[in-house]
Symmetry: C2
Subunit: 242 residues, 2 copies
């Protein structure tokens, strides 16, 4: 056990309480004006797919959705329409992803010792994947699903390549990213105060020098960002159903 782990309660001996935070307050700016979370995917909104998977995860006790002001009512109704069974809160997000997740984290059940942050735009997350990451976070305080990078990645500045990082060390990280609740709240608060620009929640925790444990992600657990991703999503859905 690492020294800092002693600062936190030992989650390993008891079933943790885990609140799932759904990051759903983004602007969908790469989706040609549409709110990507409401796009139909096999007749069901993208967000409904995500919520149903989270709802079905054994380790999740409640769901908190961080939404834009204009979506608060709509998302609450969506939960009813699509039969979400666990307790749901819909809270107003902030200007950045970190602010939105922190607001949701503050609204979580105070007894929750784990927080699982899930992109609303990852409709192919599964209950098994979620429970797997929760289990790892229970042991290690911070965990996320990831897959080895397939493409060659370049670091470039002004359109000229600076270097090629060793691909064998590179992973694309997915969600849910699951953390000790106190750790995540402290990490997000610190990141926001420092004005850090982050692209995921692990990064906030990494800033504090904590270790993130990677679990095995799913290739189909894509994040919907561009119209091309919706094409892929439709194809994945067909394959899963057939």
């Amino acid at each position: 056990m690492k020294f800092w782990q002693k600062l936190f309660p030992d989650h390993r001996s008891v079933k943790p309480r885990c609140s799932a935070i759904i990051a759903a307050a983004g602007s969908s700016r790469r989706m040609e004006g549409e709110n990507k979370l409401l796009l139909p995917l096999g007749g069901k909104p993208v967000l409904a797919h995500t919520l149903q998977a989270v709802d079905a995860a054994a380790g999740v006790d409640e769901i908190i959705i961080a939404a834009r002001e204009e979506d608060l009512v709509r998302f609450a109704e969506l939960c009813k329409t699509w039969g979400i069974k666990k307790p749901v809160k819909v809270v107003a997000g902030g200007k950045t992803r970190e602010e939105s997740v922190l607001r949701a984290a503050i609204e979580a059940d105070p007894d929750a010792n784990l927080l699982a942050v899930q992109d609303g735009a990852r409709p192919f997350t599964t209950p098994e994947l979620i429970d797997d990451v929760i289990e790892s976070a229970r042991m290690h305080f911070a965990a996320a699903p990831a897959l080895p990078v397939k493409d060659t990645i370049k670091v470039a500045v002004d359109g000229i390549v600076r270097n090629t990082p060793d691909r064998s060390l590179l992973y694309t990280v997915q969600t849910p990213q699951v953390f000790d609740a106190q750790l995540l709240r402290a990490a997000l608060t610190s990141a926001i105060e420092a004005g850090a620009v982050l692209t995921d929640d692990c990064s906030a925790v990494e800033r504090l020098g904590k270790e993130i444990y990677l679990t095995e992600g799913l290739e189909e657990n894509i994040k919907i960002t561009t119209p091309w991703d919706m094409i892929l999503a439709e194809a994945i859905l067909k394959r899963k159903e057939g």
Copy 2:
């Protein structure tokens, strides 16, 4: 003009001669035993899609396919079946990608001053994309199409995150990668002699300290590696056709 550019002929005043090298000698080890290049995509083998795009690029003068021994005849026949019009050579590849590309580079027309290396498994490359990269390489000696990375990338060792590189500097590089012919042959020879493990051809040129210029890639210009990629490829094809 950089000092080293003076070492090479000036391609900017004349239309360059360009030989396209198709990297098609891979083992498809992530494709569950199938040769991914022969998988049907809308009724046409993956490799035939790639070859037809390369064949239609105005800047390409000849095509050299680096193939496994057992595919030499099959790929030559495939070129006939799918109506490839430019001169084609099919040559036996080596044990590694670099060896295969170098063997093809040695077989190229000695008058070719540019070599365009194209993954056989990127069936959605387009003549416009290829000509665009050739034009950049004509100016800059080394060019490749790339897109900004959308996912958060982690550097991890033994399943534990070490750091998160700044995503705003990261690009996924595609093919064709186009180079001054002498530069590419020298770079591959050097990389092979040094036993360097590389995942693309730019990396060999970067080893020599040369600058690679990035052009804008295409989101649909995916490399087929896993069965999931074939699902995406079918969906892309449908979207392109409809």
